[in-house]
């Protein structure tokens, strides 16, 4: 019981007709890095806001360390640090003054604030720019100051909304290693939402995939891959020599193959079972040299794509029934595009 630090039960948020979050049941363990994945407008930000008590859920409830997020938001906010997407600072104040202000809002004593501020500025590499006004900061600098700002209250849990958005590759690497460090060294629980799969894959212990307000899959990346396989979808990516028409014909002829398609240098073989062994034998028997063979489905990109496909298929079914789901999807997509355009 106490192992789980964040739990939500049937958490639902409706905005008029549109349901932003549907019946969300989520548990997050202490000390883990959890990634909330999903396209823009999938309800990730709404979920994080409900966890912080900034938005009231329509149904269900969320708790952090046994505290109800709606009833006791002050207690929750005392132990949760929140880094909003595209964080803002008071432009007329320097970076250091902004941090002092946050410290005072948290009711920390002045000497603790001073000590922590210096330490954190050092940690995020902002000591030199700390006395500049924040309106002169670049996006990456703001992001780093934002992390210092979050850490100032020494939170047990850190919630980050799209932390990797708009940062250059070097900054991204630094940020990711910092997140990892926060979890491993300091033992903090981290919940981050993102639509950038690659980064999330690198640092998350577990991920949850969010589409249209519902959590359609949740688990470690390996688990999600396995689950996918159990559903009977295998894709084999291979390349062989000599690469000719006969090769594709041969592959199509192998028992159990559903389809063969070409993708650049590689050939994709779709099937319902694991065909690695049979395909290798078949190829060698016919005098082909196997150059590369990979079972797809193990990385997040794949999983993500699959789940989206699935969600879309369901969407189409709903459309066939003639309800207004499509309308809503379109609206969602449009607002999603607008959002990504704005960011």
């Amino acid at each position: 019981m106490s192992e789980y630090i964040i739990r939500t039960v049937g958490l639902t948020k409706r905005y008029g007709e549109k349901t932003a979050v549907k019946q969300l049941n989520l548990t997050i363990k202490k000390g883990e890095v959890f990634g909330l994945l999903g396209p823009n407008g999938a309800g990730k930000t709404t979920t994080t806001l409900m966890l912080l008590g900034l938005t009231e859920p329509t149904e269900g409830f969320a708790s952090i360390e046994g505290m109800d997020c709606t009833r006791d938001p002050i207690g929750v906010k005392r132990i949760v640090g929140y880094l909003p997407d595209n964080v803002g600072f008071y432009g007329d104040m320097t970076g250091r003054e902004n941090l002092y202000f946050t410290g005072r809002l948290n009711g920390l004593p002045e000497d603790v604030i001073r000590e922590r501020t210096e330490g954190l500025l050092e940690r995020v590499g902002m000591t030199e720019a700390a006395d500049q006004k924040t309106k002169t900061y670049s996006r990456g600098m703001k992001q780093r100051l934002g992390i210092a700002d979050v850490l100032l209250k020494d939170p047990k849990i850190i919630i980050m909304d799209e932390p990797t958005l708009g940062i250059d590759p070097q900054g991204m690497r630094d940020l990711l290693s910092l997140i990892r460090e926060l979890s491993e060294k300091d033992g903090r629980t981290i919940l981050l939402s993102s639509h950038q799969l690659y980064q999330v894959q690198q640092i998350c212990d577990r991920v949850g995939i969010f589409v249209e307000g519902s959590l359609i899959a949740c688990g470690t990346i390996a688990e999600l891959g396995k689950k996918m396989e159990r559903e009977g979808k295998y894709t084999l990516e291979l390349s062989a020599e000599p690469d000719n028409e006969a090769l594709t014909r041969l592959l199509s002829g192998v028992e159990g193959v559903n389809g063969v398609e070409r993708e650049g240098e590689n050939i994709l073989v779709h099937s319902r079972t694991d065909l690695r062994r049979r395909v290798t034998m078949e190829l060698t028997a016919n005098g082909y040299t196997l150059l590369g063979l990979r079972q797809k489905g193990g990385d997040l990109d794949e999983i993500y794509g699959r789940y989206f496909e699935k969600a879309e298929r369901e969407q189409r079914k709903a459309e066939a029934k003639g309800n207004r789901a499509l309308e809503r999807l379109k609206k969602g997509l449009r607002s999603g595009q607008r959002k990504s355009g704005g960011a």
Binding site: T55, G75, Y82, P84, L105, G107, D149
Partner: protein, 288 residues
Amino acid sequence: MLILAVIIITSYASLYGALSGISSDSDYIFLSLYTTSGNSIPSFMSFIALLGPFVGIILGFDGISGEKSERTLYRIAAQPIYRDSIINGKFLAGTTLIFLMVFTMGVSVGAAGLLVTGVPPSLEEVGRVFFYLVFTSVYICVWLGLSLWFSVVCKNAAASAMASIGVWLFFALFMSLVAGIIADAFYPMNNDWQALMNSMGNYTLELNLNRLSPYYLYSEAASTIMNPSVRAVNVVTMESLSGAISGYLSLGQSLLLVWPHLAGLIALMLATFAGSYICFMRQEIRAK
């Protein structure tokens, strides 16, 4: 900042105007420093009545919407503070600044006038100036509350500024026209007979409608306070004037006349603040 500088400059200009236009036959020379207008320069009072609302609006119009567009509201709201302390802080900071500014300016203009004229104020005059400044501060706070309300409701700062200025223009310029039209509709005065029967009702209704406007309420109260010869704020018939001895009202009596005005202004201030408070507390904190 700029508007504060403008106000300080204009109030000294008005003092200069008053000094050149002042006449020594008044019994309240010190008060006339505030009320007299010089040639082409309006008086201190009319300057404040004109520019005061702007101070209030400028302090409030981007209170919440600015925090939203700078994206700092999220960060502040995620700290362990109650949500109402954000809006309370905004309003209290504004009112403190307004009271400080109004009193500093009123006292410094008085001091400068004292240095130049060399006429010391009587205790009653000091009292009148004090109450005038209180009225002014409350009046400006009404506009602060209103613009804060718009800043909660409007998505961006420009819209909220336009809305506040629009309301101000309406009250300052058009309210009296509207009040006149409505009063005429209820109590028509198209011929002598109607004029005889309805003039009392017409005038009273128009006055009361006008008093809905904080601008009118404030001007009426300020002129009563600063001008001891104003004896009544409502309709006075010839009958009730008969036998009256012409003279000045004491401070206590003047205050008695405008007491409802002060209560009304404070109520308006609290109402506008309550509006912004309720809207803010019920609002979703998400700046998109």
